[in-house]
Symmetry: C2
Subunit: 118 residues, 2 copies
DNA sequence: CGGTTTGTACGATAGACCTCGTAGTACGGT
DNA sequence: ACCGTACTACGAGGTCTATCGTACAAACCG
């Protein structure tokens, strides 16, 4: 009886706690950039394994946590799955245009270097 | 006679070699973010010690090098000084809007948290 | 030439980070 | 109750990073 209520809770930074340096650090990893691009394309909540990464599952979990703890994504449990979505509202309010320019930059670079480049 | 010509040369990544993840990583450090903001405010070339950082001089050198090697700034020697400027042209061409949105985000966050916050 | 200014190189240290495998937990279905 | 799915927690390994101090180099100024 460690968690009384059935719903497991996940620690997210509050709106005021989101730091630009943390967000940039979260986005500065190729794997996490892939995740963010994948979530942007999806548009809605997707579960963790929906974004395929060339790393082990525990590493994937690690990256999702970094993204959550920096304020880039929101995570919630739904059954056995864990759903992920971009914190677009908060990010756009805090740092207008940042997410979109990063996504556009990632898209451009992918087109320039080929889809398989880091 | 290790360096034949008098002008010391500095290694910069070519335009095509600049990687988004590297740029984001360079910007993801509070000290380097300060440097970038300082250079943006200056608008022109400034020497290394023009941007005051609460770290030792050798650490400062380290951060300037990271910024140069990621393609964020351009460095050149001028007498005993080393001049620094943003690579605005290249960054804007590669990742339109990225630098400006990051600068704006940094400015907003500084206003929100106070000028002394990381 | 001698001194000053400006920044570099090197080595060290402590902490963070990415990656993995294994073992375990929570939930849903049969 | 049992099993499968989806993800986590923990510990470990190897690499990278930020920081520092000291010693050094390059250019300028008398």
């Amino acid at each position: 009886m460690t968690t009384p209520t059935g719903a497991r809770e996940l620690a997210h930074p509050a709106y005021e706690e989101i730091r630009l340096a943390d967000v940039l650090h979260a986005l500065a990893d190729p794997m996490r950039l892939r995740v963010v691009c994948g979530l942007a394309v999806a548009g809605t909540e997707v579960n963790c394994s929906a974004v395929e990464l060339p790393v082990s599952k525990s590493t994937s979990t690690h990256h999702f946590r970094v993204l959550r703890e920096s304020g880039v994504i929101r995570q919630s449990y739904r059954g056995t799955a864990k759903m992920n979505e971009l914190r677009r509202d908060d990010l756009d309010a805090l740092f207008p245009g940042l997410l979109d320019t990063v996504l556009a930059a990632a898209h451009r670079q992918k087109a320039r270097l080929g889809p398989d480049a880091g």
